[in-house]
């Protein structure tokens, strides 16, 4: 029954989202070239070509400038309008397209209507994996200018070895003194559920609840590069009530690089990141460890075709809490495999690569990865799959490549 509902949700949602992207192919105005772009706000107007002002953030301004000289692409305009709405916390961003000064050219005007406060309810993620169950999150956000206050609930058994269920509270400031500096403060309170296989493997390392306080500053050094610095203070309540509460405090460092290039026919996106979480006794932590996580994603698009390669690797040293250990075999890695079958306690070494080909809404993928503990033999596993993806929605069947039997696994959901 759960499968039926998930399929209905996805199948009903996909055509709605597909319609918008398909229609732009039949727009007669796509033959015209964008001559100029203007952005108009509350009492101000910026001509992107000639003006220099501080209303628009550097990277968004660059993307607006990149529209000039290109053929009119209403999907790209919608994307920019959405980002303007997000950046200015605007109620609406209307876009108008006028004839340009030269023949066969057009001018684009974005009209921003700002509202000082707004409220939104959102579903950031939901996913159903037939061998691991449902996962989902819902949140409410109140935004006042650049300040966003969010409260949400989550139940996720997909991301980590544990199923964590609880609430999240978050404050974000997207323009702390400058639009390049972003501050986030988060408090989470989760209760944990453990899989039977994990319980059998380890009792002493399990916890029944954890509370997290996490302040993080992110600085946009240049358009493609950002650095993050923060801290994570976690309290782990052990399953045994007699045992003492443990602290897992860590420093967080991150560097992320995102670069997009395009010509008349191709678009390429390079996305890479490195994250370090370092726990130390000097931070009043009961755990001392270093967790390194690397990611590199390359996306190449030509027309309706997209090829993606997503590589991740992880190294964990020292004694770390279970939520820091790596696992593979969920809705985005080694799809089709069951993570508890691969390693119910996770590993401290991880390597994974996913290759995906998309044609329109159709997708096919091949996952290859290994998870192990240092000193153990490395066993590589793989899976193949196919499905339909439109925007953030996806429905796919994944098949783990193993000897002797075929066990397809259904994966449906959004934003995973």
């Amino acid at each position: 029954m759960k499968f039926v509902w998930a399929s209905v949700l996805l199948v009903a949602g996909l055509p709605l989202l597909a319609a918008g992207t398909q229609d732009s192919e039949f727009n007669v105005n796509t033959r015209y070239t964008v001559e100029d772009v203007q952005v108009a706000g509350d009492g101000w107007t910026t001509h992107l070509v000639s003006d220099k002002d501080s209303h628009i953030s550097f990277h968004l301004r660059q993307d607006l400038l990149a529209l000039i000289g290109q053929k009119l692409n209403t999907s790209a305009l919608d994307d920019v309008a959405r980002r303007l709405r997000k950046e200015f916390r605007a109620r609406t961003v209307e876009r108008h397209v006028l004839r340009g000064k030269s023949p066969q050219t057009v001018q684009v005007v974005f009209d921003i209507e700002v509202r000082p406060a707004r409220f939104d309810l959102a579903v950031p993620k939901f996913a159903y994996v037939s061998n691991q169950g449902w996962n989902g999150a819902g949140e409410a956000t109140a935004t006042i200018y650049h300040h966003a206050f969010t409260g949400g609930v989550v139940s996720d058994g997909d991301e980590l070895l544990e199923r964590y269920t609880g609430f999240q509270a978050r404050y974000e400031n997207t323009r702390l003194f400058t639009d390049r500096l972003h501050f986030r403060f988060e408090y989470d309170d989760y209760h944990e559920l453990w899989h039977d296989r994990t319980r059998v493997e380890s009792v002493t390392d399990l916890y029944r609840a954890r509370q997290i306080v996490e302040p993080v500053l992110t600085y946009q050094i240049a358009r493609p590069l950002s650095l993050s610095l923060g801290a994570s203070f976690e309290q782990l309540q052990p399953i045994d009530p007699a045992a003492h509460i443990e602290a897992a405090n860590a420093v967080i460092l991150g560097a992320h690089f995102r670069y997009r290039t395009e010509n008349a026919v191709d678009e390429q996106l390079f996305d890479s990141g490195y994250d370090l979480r370092s726990g130390a006794h000097t931070l009043a932590s009961d755990f001392a460890y270093n967790r390194h996580h690397f990611e590199f994603r390359y996306t190449w698009t030509r027309g309706k075709q997209t090829v993606m390669d997503d590589a991740i690797a992880g190294v964990l040293t020292g004694r770390a809490p279970l939520y820091e250990r790596f696992s593979l075999g969920n809705s985005s890695t080694l799809r089709g495999w069951n993570k508890y079958e691969l390693d119910p306690l996770g590993g401290n070494r991880m390597l994974h690569n996913a290759v995906e080909y998309r044609y329109g809404a159709f997708q096919a993928f091949y996952d290859l990865g290994a998870i192990w503990d240092a000193g153990e033999a490395v066993i590589a596993r793989s899976s193949i799959g196919a499905g339909i993806r439109e925007g953030p929605f996806s429905i796919a069947v994944a098949i783990p490549m193993r000897d002797g039997r075929i066990e397809p696994v259904l994966i449906v959901g959004m934003n995973y």
């Binding site: 727009n27 209403t74 108008h96 397209v97 004839r99």
Partner: protein, 208 residues
Amino acid sequence: MTERPRATGFTRRSWLLAGLAIPLFRARAAANFALKYDGDNLYPDAPDIHFLTPRVVARLRDSADTQAFISELKIFGGSGPDEPPIRQAHARLVVSYSLWEETFTVAIPGIRTQQGLSVQQAEAWCFENLAVSAAGLDPSKPYRMRFELRSVRRTDLNRVLGDVGISLVNMIDIFSRKAGADEPNWSRELSFRLMDLPRITGRPGRHG
């Protein structure tokens, strides 16, 4: 209690007249709806339906975007309200307006596209290209045809996706809004027998 209707201006007579008028509106709608038959397909003909309203045209001119419409033709064998159609055809019409040529382009994705049209020509072209197959229908048997046309707002669909995922606030806003001036829709219905319909020639041979 008897004073209340007079105070609001609605007497029993006005209610009676209004009730009698409802079937007349339906009859008028049916009178403005006809079918054309080329021996293979049935084509709707509704000269009073002007789906390229001034509001739609103004939006197309202002945004250089597209406006999509969904059409649905259903043939029923009986007159029961819950009876399933014995034949149906759906089509998606995508209209855009050229800023420099000042003409309309209409596309039925995957079927055909026509450029350089006026408002009237664009509407007429759409009706000429909407069809449902009549193959296998008994010429002497009465059938019922239901035609529906509704606009689809692309911007609303995009709004469903918020900054972090599906925005429930926007979704509630979109789905709670009644079909009105923003999303007009039209519906026509009529009974027919194939043997009574005049034959036409020169239509595109499209089966719905």
